[in-house]
Amino acid sequence: MKTYVKTFALPLWLLASFSQVLCAEEANTNNVNEKDTWPIAATSQTVTEDDYLGDVPKVLTVSRLSQSKADSPSAVTVIDRETIRASGIVDIPELLRLVPGFYVAKNAGFIYNSNDTVSYHGMASAYPGAMQVLINGRSVYTPLFGGVLWSELPITVDDIERIEITRGPNAASYGANSFLGVISIITKDATEAKGSSVRLTHGTGRNEAFYRYVGDIQDVNFRVSTGYREDDGLDNRNDFKRTNILTVQADKHLDASNEIGFEFWATNGDRADGELAKDKILFTPRVRNISSNYELIRWRHNISDDSDFLLQAYHAYNGTDDSVTSVNLRPIFAANPPLLSSTVTVNNDIDLDRYEIEAQHTFSPATNWRVVWGGSVRLDRTYAPYWLGTNEADDFNLQRLFGQAEWRINDQVLMNLGSMVEHNDFTGTEVSPRASLNVKLAPNHTLRFGVSSATRTPNYIEEKFNNPILVPTTLGASYLVQGYADTGDVNSERILSHEIGYLGQLGNLDVDARLFNDDIRNILNTKRIKLTLPPNIIFASKDNPRTYFNGGDAEVRGFETQIKYRLFKTTQILFNYSHVEIHGDKNALPTDFTVSMPKNTFSALITHQFDSNWDASYAYYQTGAVSALGDGSAVGLNRRSDVRVARKFNLNHANGEVSIVVENLFNSHYHEYALYNTLGRRALINLDLNF
């Protein structure tokens, strides 16, 4: 900070505005009561020199400040509070329909996962992995299949402050699984406005009641959120969900440069699962119990103005109790030898524990450099007897070390460099580097050239899926039913992504456009293998079991854009479009992944503010024909229109909003992901009350 010496004198008239106030005070002087005694400025309301010269704790520390979109090494889409509100969406994954290049489909599975299928640029099954998903910096994808159990996340859309979506690989910053994209959810925290709020939702097959409180006790700021949600799921499917949620977040400033944060989140509830059309014998319609919880402690230490240290440790648990008993198997295994028992029981309990310690140091070695580096150690403990074919829990260790630097070469050119080295139990050591150059052509026009590489470590399903079911007979031999027999030893998938991006602002128009070319190698796919069986085992499945192998390569290329346009002060339009083509030798693989992403997806959100109380929005989503992997089947183009009307109100000691949302206004009965998922119209009414 520079100090300046006198250069010119202050003209007296410029003081005039102050003397007005002085005049007023002068007038009062004559009325001073003799009884007024000292001290005079002791009222805590009086601003003193401390307000000007005293310290203010550093809030926007280097690690808290994110790169602006124009400086970012990748395309970033932010879904903010206002967009979430305007969209009327109540399920988190559906918000991603507002991000160019995303494929989102409602899906009701039947063994374990009945959740939305979310992928960026396709190649997704009912268990889509390949994307890093973080809540407040904590990774929430499950090690079992690499994807996210969206409905089991301990947050609701109402808890979200914003979602930052990195489109394209970004392993250098976010680590394992940041293969196709990164979804970083940032929740509201204890710095929110203090007080209570209630949100009630009632609608077609959906009821929710949540209570939130933000307050402080002895310098500890905290936020508590608790509630219940029930969702009946899709028509004619057995996929209802009942969920209880409790979250507690607390922050405390130990002193000006140290802050401690705690988070505790928990969910439990029931999930209906099973589909007779897919499995009449074992995973028949049933209700299973789920629960999840996590505990986190975070320490932020501000080393200096240009340097920050962050250390966090957490444990996360995700599990389900699901013991399934088959139907009477005797008619099915009619041949000799006869069965010892008429049914078999399979333990489909799943317990996933994740322990992680992460450290991160952000600093600015020179004014035009900013560096972030750090590392983490993670242990994933997976107990999934049905999936892994063992009653033992299996441990997966992951260590990573990452570093990235932002170099502001001059006002026009900025370079980002980064790399991550990762070591894991499945595939050993891997390196994911990244580089990009952002060129500011004019103050509001930036071109970005980026090359990024990432690996995707096989998940448990790809590495160790082994589900033998033995059906004993009276003669000592057993029938064997088995769908998967992973031989392990698969390699990571690898992506090399090139992109040219443009970010521009023309008057009321904001444009984010991107041309991309992703080269994906070693794609994991399945093939059938013949098992060598001991003499007393009779293989009884119709087909040989599958195993994963690194099967082929693909090239994904296309164009996507997000445009925001402020038509009038009161009317805004958000427009997303993507065109994605997947090229590859479809004969090289058992499944045709080239059609696993709709060629064209389109979404738009129009919001209009009628006056200070009334506002309305209209959302349109169009997804082209697609044939997803796994259990997915060919579904045609679908169109969906949502409308939302809201009115704000003010009461004496409270304020709030009532809104009505109609999803799929025209009730078009389209299919998503597979033909067994049929969508229909749904109407919801929400009441928000803050007091």
């Binding site: 900070m1 520079k2 100090t3 300046y4 010496v5 006198k6 010119f8 004198a9 202050l10 008239w13 410029l14 003081l15 005039a16 505005s17 102050f18 003397s19 007005q20 106030v21 002085l22 005049c23 005070e25 002068e26 002087t29 001073v32 007024d36 000292w38 001290p39 005079i40 400025a41 805590s44 309301q45 009086t46 601003v47 003193t48 020199e49 307000d51 000007y52 010269l53 005293g54 203010v56 704790p57 550093k58 809030v59 926007l60 400040l65 790169q67 602006s68 979109k69 402050e161 914003r162 710095t191 406005a193 203090k194 007080g195 400033h253 103005d305 900013r370 502001r408 103050p443 304020n655």
Partner: protein, 320 residues
């Protein structure tokens, strides 16, 4: 409007009761504690006097003690009070003792003035408040296209609403204000402001800006991707985009000028005044994160001076 101001001045001048006073021979600097800012002020003040050849003022420093009675050579000293507490103590000295407050915000000065029934002629201050036009001029220099500036007023600062609005209009800003009457309103009202404005200008008021609220205000503004203009260097360090401030050295320079000029006529201290010399402090990290192109501090300062000079010239024109 200007004639009204002149009338005010006349009133102010009228209150300069012509009291008998002799030239002072020394300066007593009074402070409640030797804080870094105070020490820096004293050092620079002494240096300033030393560099002025015709000044032969002694400088004496007193740290206020709670229990002891304040002893000052009341009729031969100029008392420079550092901070509000010191100013209060100084106001209890004989009414003929010339007192110059330093590091005192204007509302606190007014409060002490009112309670002590001192007169402006020998009771004055260099206030901590930077003039609003200077702060608005900084916003203009940093954000040439900004149209709306949001201000959160508390019960104390609300008295300045009209002045700031007028100053804003002159610089093509529309000032959007929200008044906070209780702590619970703070963040909701801030959000309303942030949604409709280009920047937030902080005006000191304990109800709005204090150690407890600083974090929420800065984080909320940042989440809305709106820059905040603070009123101190500390705020810039904490996360405000920029602020105008005067260093201890700059205030010491101004105080030394007053001490020398008024030496022979201690009952004719200049009226309370805003800091004459100022500096700019910017937070480049915040600027980059908000994608706001920022000139360096020296360039910004130059640009603001140009704008100020232009304003003075234009004002001279309208006057003639």
């Amino acid at each position: 409007m200007f004639s009204k101001w002149l009338a005010c001045f006349a009133l102010v001048l009228g209150l300069f009761a012509p009291v008998f006073a002799q030239a002072y021979t020394g300066v007593t600097i009074l402070m409640s504690a030797p804080s870094p800012a105070n020490s820096e002020f004293i050092e620079n003040f002494k240096n300033e006097l030393a560099s002025t050849k015709n000044a032969n003022l002694r400088v004496n420093v007193i740290v206020l003690q709670e229990t002891e009675k304040l002893i000052v050579a009341e009729n031969s000293e100029l008392v420079i009070a550092l901070g509000v507490k010191a100013l209060e103590a100084a106001s209890r000295l004989q009414h003929t003792t010339p007192v110059l407050g330093v590091f005192t915000p204007l509302p606190a000065f007014n409060e002490v003035l009112a309670k002590s029934r001192r007169e402006l002629g020998n009771f004055s201050a260099i206030v901590l408040d930077q003039p609003y036009w200077r702060q608005l001029s900084l916003i203009r220099a940093v954000l040439p296209d900004a149209k709306k500036v949001g201000i959160l007023f508390g019960s104390v600062s609300s008295q300045y609403i009209e002045i700031i609005k007028e100053e804003g209009e002159e610089r093509a800003f529309s000032i959007v204000d929200e008044s906070v009457t209780q702590e619970a309103d703070l963040i909701p009202k801030l959000k309303i402001l942030l949604e409709s404005t280009d920047a937030l200008l902080a005006i000191p008021d304990r109800l709005v800006y204090n150690r407890e609220t600083a974090e929420s205000i800065l984080l909320t503004s940042y989440r809305h991707q709106k820059p905040m203009f603070g009123y101190s260097q500390s705020y810039v360090r904490a996360g405000a985009l920029a602020s105008v401030y005067s260093s201890s050295k700059q205030v010491a320079m101004q105080a030394a000028e007053i001490a020398i000029k008024s030496q022979l006529a201690p009952s004719l201290l200049p009226p309370p005044q805003v800091p004459e010399y100022f500096s700019i402090s910017v937070n480049n990290q915040v600027a980059h994160s908000l994608n706001i192109p920022l000139m360096d501090e020296a360039m910004l300062y130059k640009k603001m001076l140009e704008a100020e000079t232009l304003e003075v010239m234009e004002h001279e024109k309208t006057k003639h």
